[in-house]
């Protein structure tokens, strides 16, 4: 570590809050900014300050947004009646990339996890239930991860909403990945794919 100036040392220290950035790469980044990229560094620090000061959560879907409503919720072309519940914003990015889904989202920012003391409140479930009871949702897709806690979260939501009239509750299908050769698929997925197999006479 440098120990040349408190400001430089402080910057090297603080940049390590980024994922995957250890002391060595922090040092490299800081030297790069100071030696060659002062202009870019200023833009970065301004963008960082602005985003951290003003980005909160969309009131409707809890995605990160500096406005009350995010651009997905504001988009009139998107289907208001279908809502996809996911654990993280990264899941939204993944689904958006597929261009498959034209509804809206609800982001839990986590999953039920008693060991970590994360309950329905932190996941915004009351807000989600209110949204459903406002009556404009016709289908809710539970797209939580297929981990124990993800499944439990989906069950919890399902249980709370199963009696709501005119609401379809669906879950993403699980199975062999597209373009995947069976030989290389992990056993857990194969087992799931087997127990969720579909009748060809009905589907083809």
């Amino acid at each position: 570590m440098s120990k040349v100036s408190p400001l430089v040392d402080g910057l090297i220290e603080s940049i390590q809050c980024l994922p995957g950035v250890g002391p060595k790469s922090a040092q490299r980044m800081v030297l790069h900014l100071l030696e060659r990229e002062r202009e870019g560094g200023k833009i970065l620090s301004e963008a960082l300050r602005l985003a951290l000061d003003s980005v909160g959560q969309c009131q409707k879907c809890r995605i990160f947004s500096e406005d009350n409503l995010c651009s997905i919720c504001k988009n009139e072309k998107r289907d208001k009646e279908v809502i996809c519940v996911v654990e993280s914003v990264a899941d939204v990015f993944a689904i958006e990339q597929s261009n498959q889904f034209r509804g809206r989202y609800f982001i839990l920012h986590g999953h039920l996890s008693p060991i970590d003391d994360i309950g329905p409140e932190q996941l915004g479930l009351n807000q989600l239930f209110l949204l459903v009871r406002s009556g404009e949702i016709s289908e809710m897709i539970l797209a939580t991860n297929s981990t124990l806690e993800g499944e439990a979260t989906a069950h919890f939501i399902y249980d709370a909403l199963k009696d709501v009239e005119n609401l379809d509750l669906t879950k993403l299908a699980q199975g062999v990945p597209l373009g995947g050769e069976l030989e290389y698929v992990d056993r857990g997925t194969i087992m799931h794919a087997f127990s969720g197999r579909v009748n060809l006479k009905e589907t083809i």
Binding site: P114, L148, E149, E151, F156, D159, R187, M191
Partner: protein, 243 residues
């Protein structure tokens, strides 16, 4: 302290993200008890350790490393229990939290492990609320027994006099049962009927009295053993069998 093991049976109690693609995994192993591992790269699509997040599964794992946090080197599925009901799923989450908070690190408890495995197997088959509750209570009894805090459901604590069907008892988790009166007299707050305690001892929770008594007894005993730790699941899943 064990430095390496191969093909050790294990359940995963808890995982959390670590750096970008790795996981910190708390596991309950058959022969070494509760342990923590780092599963490097386990979130990468092609990682062999990726299966570690498959829920309700017995794994065969290999690991190396000194100290508290070992490195997971291999992980394969031995048996996957398909748990589909909410009650059974809540039970597993409850049991994971219970084991996380009661077991000490690297304190081997093969008997608890085997009982837990059997319980998971049964939960994947049995959806009957009464039998699920009975199995949970039995597991809790064995857990406390194995940890050295067994409860005698058939005898009074100090005198050793057999519990009587027609009497009522108080329960002190540190001690056990003490007779407080006859059952015909109205049951004092926090008291238990001899007949309910004895049905629980026999594994018969068919009537609501013994079912509710067994739940209260085990809850008091577990709370005592947990000390200042609390089981958070009780806050969330109020109607589940875990309650």
């Amino acid at each position: 302290m064990v430095n390496r093991a191969t093909l050790e049976e294990a359940f995963i109690l808890h995982t959390r993200s670590f750096k970008e693609t790795s996981l910190i995994v708390d596991a309950f192993t058959q022969n070494y008890g509760k342990m923590s591992f780092v599963a490097k790269g386990a979130k990468r699509p092609k990682s062999g350790l990726r299966v570690i997040q498959t829920p309700t599964t017995v794994f065969s794992i290999s690991f190396t490393g000194k100290g508290d946090l070992k490195t997971l080197t291999q992980c394969e599925i031995i048996e996957h229990f398909r748990i589909s009901s909410k009650v059974a799923l809540s039970c597993i989450i409850y049991l994971n939290e219970l084991l996380t908070k009661t077991l000490e690190k690297e304190d081997p408890h093969p008997e608890i492990f085997n009982q837990f495995k059997m319980l998971c197997h049964n939960l994947s088959k049995d959806q009957n609320q009464e039998s699920i509750e009975l199995q949970l209570r039995s597991f809790e009894l064995i857990l406390l027994q194995e940890l050295g805090y067994g409860i005698d459901l058939e005898k009074e604590a100090l005198s050793g006099i057999p519990i009587n069907v027609n009497s009522s008892y108080s329960f002190d988790p540190a001690l056990g049962f003490t007779k407080i009166g006859e059952a015909e007299v109205e049951l004092a707050a926090g008291g238990f009927l001899g007949k309910d305690i004895l049905s629980f001892a026999k594994g018969d929770l068919a009537n609501t009295g013994s079912r509710s008594a067994s739940k209260k007894i085990m809850r008091r005993a577990l709370d005592f053993h947990l000390g200042n730790k609390t089981l958070n699941i009780r806050k969330y899943l109020i109607e589940s069998g875990a309650q």
